[in-house]
Symmetry: C2
Subunit: 225 residues, 2 copies
């Protein structure tokens, strides 16, 4: 029996170009939003009835997802959402540490006053949203997006986007961990203060430390349960 993979609203339809492409993006969203979890099997027929197409475009979408690294296709067992092994997670976070640090450092040099105010505002809202991890996770996303925008470097954005798909595989938020949202907010505050000071090295350092802590939380969540 198919579980509830469906989004409430204008689901089902997608005619940008080909059906295969539509299925691809729908499944990508589903994985990104955690409606399919890592390791879970994705059945062709199930997706086909869900999106009201035949199995052929689903299979085409599977091939794309495989080359994205989002699923693993094995003969006669079909598709499973990819799982990152410990090494991959470590490598991924090592890179995130570099990129977030860079973003913070660059932002310290280039952020406008409005952007800095907005970052503080996001932290205030985060304080208010205490106890609602979903809202907090969303505010967290906004925070990091604003940081990257304030960095004023289109190539930093490109580099970051190159990692987005892989990051989607572990989007089950660390904000579920008790106490994590509060420490995260404090870490963010240090970063924004450094940006306000215009101290690039300090912002870089605090951002790296922040991701370092996030890495620990992530690894604990994944491999030591």
């Amino acid at each position: 029996m198919p579980k509830n993979k469906e989004k409430p609203a204008e689901n089902k339809l997608n005619f940008e170009t080909s059906l295969g492409e539509g299925v691809h993006s729908q499944l990508k969203d589903a994985i990104r939003e955690g409606r399919y979890s890592p390791g879970e099997r994705i059945r062709e027929a199930e997706v086909a009835v869900w999106l009201n197409v035949s199995r052929t475009p689903v299979r085409e979408a599977f091939r794309r997802l495989q080359s994205d690294g989002l699923i693993i296709l094995t003969p006669w067992r079909g598709a499973q959402v990819a799982e990152l092994d410990r090494n991959q997670v470590v490598e991924l976070y090592a890179m995130r540490r570099v990129l977030e640090g860079t973003a913070a450092g660059f932002a310290a040099l280039h952020a406008t006053d409005a952007e800095i105010d907005y970052l503080f505002e996001l932290l205030r809202q985060d304080e208010i949203a205490k106890g609602d991890p979903a809202v907090q996770a969303n505010l967290n996303r906004l925070f990091h997006e604003t940081l990257y925008a304030a960095a004023r470097n289109r190539y930093l954005l490109k580099a970051s986007n190159a990692l987005a798909d892989s990051l989607a595989l572990l989007r089950s938020t660390t904000y579920e961990i008790p106490g994590r949202p509060d420490t995260a907010r404090q870490e963010h505050l240090l970063i924004v203060n450094a940006i306000k000071e215009g101290n690039s090295d300090k912002a870089d350092l605090f951002a790296r430390a922040h991701i370092e802590k996030a890495t620990q939380a992530r690894l604990a969540l994944l491999f030591e349960e």
Copy 2:
């Protein structure tokens, strides 16, 4: 009159998938190798006769190159190889500084003895190739590739590849500048020594300094002639 854009060997033919794709990769190579220089106009008909196809696949290739950011299409004036303005060059090198520093830092942690030996060997060959900028530029490329491989981080590679196209736009080597190859070799030596010591921070720092110098050379080459 069409200039000599042709490669000597097995040119003309390319049938991987579609003609448009073939034209796209041929033009990409041509730009990367400097057979078309930034700002230069690319005429549809010229490319068509060169590669022995009609204008239609050439136009399709143009659209791809545009979305790669390699050419600029303006109505009724067609395609010109994109030029990076000073800002873009600065942003690009800022990112290169980060990525090369990271690669060197990671390499200090993960490089094998064989890889370190190979890096030294490349520098020896560079010493021998004195006075031959073409060979030296190639050795330089090998050096950086080896560095990235030794860093053992697939996401660093992804991030780096995301910038590759833009970098191609300024591949007219800085090695033409008198004295530049020698200083570059010395800077490389500092990096490899730090890697051999396993000193990650030092390797990172020296690599950043190296790119910093390269940036100066590049900007001087581009904007102060």
